[in-house]
């Protein structure tokens, strides 16, 4: 693990309580949180073919960010119902540098929320729970962590998708959070982002699979 690749310049947390959106106020407001870490991009300004070592180096960064976001949201892990992740790469970098976040960002939140899979298997894309499990829930955070990424200038906004942690098709939990850091990323920086939420859209009412009806425990339904 090459920790020299990791230089964190700035960390921004954002937590919001949504009481209503001009409909009936929620008994418990929806709480959504985002954390954005501004890191130096060690590959800025040139083409580097071997970038995968940074994926490992980002692992502890992701775990720290997930824990820090949970703490800022001030709710127990059991209340986190949806998640997402994203990256904004500064102008001297390439989109592929943002893709380094897929494994460590996703793994970090799954680790936090109770998924106890094997990290190496996850890195190889084999981390999800086996499909067609019996009706009993085999674990938590079974669903893929949705993501977006872009190359952008300082203050660029990224719409980071959110979906249910256990079943990607839960319609009430399809959502997104706009995340941006004023002043970042500079050309040689990357902003890595995690988002989590305590539930469905505040006035969710367009049908589809409900969280209460998840039955297959395969990360989808």
């Amino acid at each position: 693990m090459n920790l020299d690749m990791i230089t964190i310049r700035r960390i921004v947390t954002h937590v919001e309580d949504i009481h209503h959106e001009f409909g009936p106020p929620a008994g418990t407001p929806l709480r959504r949180g985002a954390i954005a870490a501004v890191l130096t991009n060690p590959f800025a300004g040139r083409y580097v073919s071997e970038i995968v070592p940074m994926m490992d180096a980002l692992q502890p960064v992701g775990i720290e960010m997930a824990q820090r976001l949970r703490a800022a949201m001030d709710v127990p892990v059991e209340r986190i119902e949806s998640y997402g992740k994203g990256a904004i790469v500064g102008a001297a970098g390439e989109l592929e540098h943002g893709a380094l976040w897929h494994v460590p960002g996703g793994y970090a939140m799954r680790e936090l929320l109770g998924w106890k899979g094997d990290r190496n298997a996850y890195a190889q894309g084999k981390g999800s729970a086996p499909s067609a499990q019996p009706a009993s829930q085999p674990g938590n955070a079974l669903a893929i962590v949705p993501s977006t990424k872009k190359v952008g200038g300082p203050g660029a906004a990224l719409d980071v998708p959110l979906t249910h942690i256990n079943a990607a098709y839960v319609r009430s939990h399809f959502d997104a959070m706009e995340v941006r850091v004023p002043g970042a990323p500079a050309a040689d920086e990357i902003v890595f982002i995690l988002v989590m939420s305590t539930g469905a859209r505040v006035h969710a009412r367009v049908g589809g699979l409900k969280a209460a009806d998840i039955a297959q425990w395969n990360g989808l339904r």
């Binding site: 964190i8 310049r9 700035r10 947390t13 309580d17 009481h19 906004a157 004023p182």
Partner: protein
């Protein structure tokens, strides 16, 4: 509670490195925002509201609520707060004076209580705006307005607010000044903190 709050948002911005240099301890700025209904929205022409007391009361309520949220997010004792600022963005069915009614008459006292003391003026900004409009909340040292290292600003913005009949109210509290201050002037260590200026 007078304020009809649709959303409440708290952000913390922590800078560990600036211009390649370590900032130790990191500088930290906390921003708390409330998206509220504007009780005087649409009061134009014959319906013009002379009296804005409802917003003045809302300002008093939000000064304490948002100030406390900032201090809590920083995880500091109230007395450890160093600088502050406030701002409001009024949706298009409101007027600039509505922001003034929230910010100026009564928001300051409970905010000062939240940061323990606060002899200095709370610097402010206001504007009319639409969804996602950004406002730069000015910052100054809470006990001595001339402390040069603490002149700063923090950008505040809510992607889906203000709607036409809403107001975004923002308060910022910090536990630090700029990351690498080096342009002289009055230092925080030199202040008396009595007249709010020096």
């Amino acid at each position: 509670m007078a304020a009809k709050i649709r959303k409440l948002i708290v952000e913390v911005d922590e800078t560990r490195i600036e211009a390649g240099r370590a900032v130790d301890p990191p500088t930290r700025k906390a921003l708390a925002m409330a998206v509220i209904e504007n009780p005087y929205a649409g009061r134009f022409g014959d319906n013009f509201a002379e009296n804005l007391d409802e917003l003045i009361a809302i300002g008093e309520e939000l000064g304490g609520l948002l100030g406390d949220k900032c201090v809590q997010a920083l995880g500091i004792a109230p007395g450890a707060a160093q600088s502050y600022g406030k701002a409001a963005i009024v949706g298009e069915a409101g007027e600039l004076e509505h922001a003034a009614a929230i910010l100026h008459p009564k928001l300051g006292a409970p905010l000062r209580k939240a940061v323990e003391k606060g002899a200095a003026l709370v610097p402010s900004a206001k504007k009319r705006g639409g969804l996602g409009t950004a406002i730069d909340v000015p910052l100054g040292h809470k006990d001595a307005a001339f402390v040069r290292s603490h002149f700063d600003a923090m950008e505040a913005r809510v992607s889906d607010a203000p709607r036409a009949n809403e107001i975004v109210v923002a308060v910022v509290v910090t536990d630090s000044g700029r990351p690498l201050p080096r342009i002289g002037g009055l230092q925080a260590s030199e202040i008396k903190g009595e007249d709010g200026l020096r």
